[in-house]
């Protein structure tokens, strides 16, 4: 297999790429605020959705917005709306003016569904308002008349995926509030939907960053079909472990297990602490407050620690295998960046325990975790291309993603 010649970066849709970067940054900000909401335990400070204390989300009096945890929760909602708006327009831009019909259709269906839902059952009023709002935004994007060609097929697919995912994600965020007290399998709707919402938030961030990469001038320079590389399995395994780690971390945050074990590196002075009822009572007595500590919390916390070591070791091995490449080689850059990120992430994990799960440290841990996952996914992608595993963009070598007509930013 002969490697093909990458397209010149100067032919890339620069402004579209910059816009995608802006959306990715905004999404990272959203992940941070969402993390802060969970860290501070203020997710239910606004009991209704998509309204806030009965007000339209965008008309909440500043005095109420600035009160305690409402600040974080309401900011998360408004910021999320902003990201939703950006993603819809990103999809319109990436998919070209040919997407207008599709957008108009989707927007119309959402508006009609919203109206119907409101009539069917007042209980679903929140979802109905959400559909009306997002449907309106989609219709507005469809109304944008400037003509532009679609970016590369891969970018277009990623943009459409982001378009759908942002709506599902917004809806899940609302369900997390509306169904907070529902009993689901021994836990609450708030916990279940909160976890899915948190998990999907990470996936969404990865997706948007992948879209930005696909539009970048760097992506065409990634070697294609350049042969097998040693250690590729470490890259895939490391990414899977990071994703598993994020899910474990999410579970811990939503089950308040972050401080189920207060000491490090041991756990209650042992490598594997006892979890009989007497020991659990003794552990609970060491901390302020009246909430119990469960054996599940302790075990999940321990698995999170063990998986952290596994993920770090695997990424270290992936980094080692990437060092064989020359300076500036995408795989080397990705390997080095990944190792740096996971090192910071590891340190933040330690600090989270040492600082008694300080909200800002715990949130930084979430944000860097998202970035570690994103870079891991890019690495897998780059390795796949290097080894000739094409995901879907068979035209990627010839299709630069250059619009046929200049893109108006």
């Amino acid at each position: 297999m002969a490697p093909t010649i990458p397209t010149s970066s100067s032919q890339r849709p620069v402004w579209l790429f910059r816009f995608a970067c802006l959306v990715a940054l905004a999404t990272l900000g959203l992940v941070c605020i969402g993390g802060l909401v969970t860290s501070k335990g203020v997710g239910m400070s606004v009991p209704d959705w998509p309204t806030s204390f009965g007000y339209s989300m965008f008309a909440l009096p500043i005095s109420m917005w600035m009160t305690g945890g409402v600040f974080h929760e309401h900011t998360h909602r408004v910021w999320a709306s902003g990201v939703g708006l950006l993603v819809v327009f990103l999809a319109r831009w990436t998919a070209g003016s040919g997407s207008r019909k599709t957008l108009a259709g989707v927007g119309l269906v959402e508006v009609v569904a919203g109206l119907l839902l409101m009539r069917v059952n007042p209980l679903w009023k929140g979802e109905a308002h959400f559909l009306l709002g997002i449907g309106g935004v989609v219709l507005a994007a469809a109304a944008v008349g400037f003509k532009n060609s679609p970016a590369s097929p891969l970018s277009v697919r990623l943009a459409w995926a982001a378009f759908w995912l942002v709506q599902i994600q917004g809806s899940l965020g609302g369900l997390r509030v509306v169904l907070d007290s529902w009993a689901i399998g021994g836990t609450t709707g708030g916990t279940v939907f909160g976890m899915i919402h948190g998990c999907l938030g990470q996936v969404f961030f990865v997706l948007v960053t992948c879209l930005a990469v696909s539009l970048s001038g760097w992506y065409p320079r990634w070697p294609r079909r350049a042969g097998d590389i040693g250690g590729a399995h470490w890259v895939f395994l490391g990414t899977a472990l990071v994703f598993g780690q994020l899910i474990l971390g999410l579970w811990m945050r939503h089950q308040h297990a972050g401080l189920a074990i207060p000491d490090l590196p041991l756990a209650y002075g042992q490598w594997w602490p006892k979890t009989d009822p007497e020991s659990l009572l003794r552990y609970a007595s060491r901390r302020e407050g009246v909430d119990a500590i469960t054996s599940l919390q302790i075990h999940m916390h321990l698995f999170h620690r063990i998986n952290a070591i596994l993920a770090f070791s695997t990424i270290l091995l992936a980094f080692r295998s990437s060092r064989v490449h020359a300076k500036g080689h995408p795989l080397k850059i990705l390997g080095t960046t990944w190792l740096h990120l996971v090192s910071v992430q590891f340190a933040l994990g330690l600090f989270t325990v040492f600082t008694d799960r300080a909200a800002d440290v715990a949130t930084a841990h979430v944000a860097v975790g998202s970035m570690t996952l994103a870079v891991g996914c890019w690495f897998c992608w780059a390795v796949g291309l290097h080894q000739g595993i094409t995901l879907s963009d068979s035209r990627s070598l010839s299709d630069s993603g250059l619009p046929e007509t200049p893109v108006v930013p």
């Binding site: 335990g41 203020v42 400070s45 606004v46 009991p47 305690g68 907070d180 007290s181 407050g289």
Partner: protein, 234 residues
């Protein structure tokens, strides 16, 4: 003559009701080394809440008064009441107040069907997120000062947690019983279970949020009984 008869009837009724009005008094003491209360630092960090306090606001995990008396312990009849007897919920309405960004009182006791008033005395909003497991959970905002929302719990349930997510350090607890024989120990650990408690033997439970539950046996004779219980620090 009529008036004399009325007065006599009233006196007789009062005497009869007094004969059935039994009460259990006592004291809850704590044993062991009580961990010191810690300052709830986020209150200081919150502009609105911090402005309401001149002194540090401390945690209330163990509130210990004179002679090791332990406050905020729910004390109630666990067993011994006539089987199958149902009771009417008291007409008074226990008040759970959110004042100075803390719940007052920390522990409230109520009977099934009794109205509990939940009030916001602060000049800014709180939300009341009730995390009941047996009763129906609820979450509502109280955006105005002085707002009172009555709530009725329809099932017996211990230690229902109320939290304010606007100020996440705020929490209070409600114990709900299917009879009216309960009390909460005061700052010195004293309690009185009042009501139409007939003479007889009863099992009494003292329930502290952190120390757990301790049980005692008591016999009400002539409408009176005394029971002192001890809870160990956990």
């Amino acid at each position: 003559m009529n008036n004399t008869l009325k007065v006599a009837a009233m006196v007789a009724a009062f005497a009869a009701s007094s004969a059935f009005a039994g009460e259990i008094t006592g004291k809850i003491k704590v044993t062991g080394e009580v961990p010191p209360a810690r300052e709830i630092t986020p209150i200081k960090g919150d502009k609105m809440c911090g402005a309401l306090h001149t002194k540090p606001v401390m945690t209330r995990t163990y509130v210990v008064g004179a002679d090791h008396g332990l406050a905020n312990v729910a004390v109630y009849i666990k067993a011994g009441l006539p089987a199958g007897k149902t009771y009417t919920a008291p007409a008074n309405k226990p008040l759970i107040d959110q004042v100075g960004c803390v719940y007052e009182p920390l522990v409230t006791v109520a009977m099934v069907g009794q109205t509990v008033d939940i009030k916001n005395s602060d000049a800014f909003m709180h939300n009341v997120n009730c995390q009941a497991k047996v009763n129906k959970p609820f979450n509502f905002a109280q955006t105005t000062q002085g707002a009172v929302n009555p709530r009725v719990f329809d099932k017996a349930e211990l230690a229902i947690k109320l939290i304010c997510n606007v100020h996440p350090w705020m929490s209070g607890y409600v114990h709900v019983f299917d009879h009216p024989f309960f009390a909460v120990s005061d700052k010195d650990g004293n309690f009185t279970i009042k009501g139409d408690l007939p003479d007889g033997k009863y099992t009494v439970e003292a329930n502290h949020l952190k120390s757990g539950i301790v049980t005692g046996e008591v016999e009400v004779k002539g409408g009176k009984a005394t029971l002192n219980l001890e809870l160990a620090v956990k």
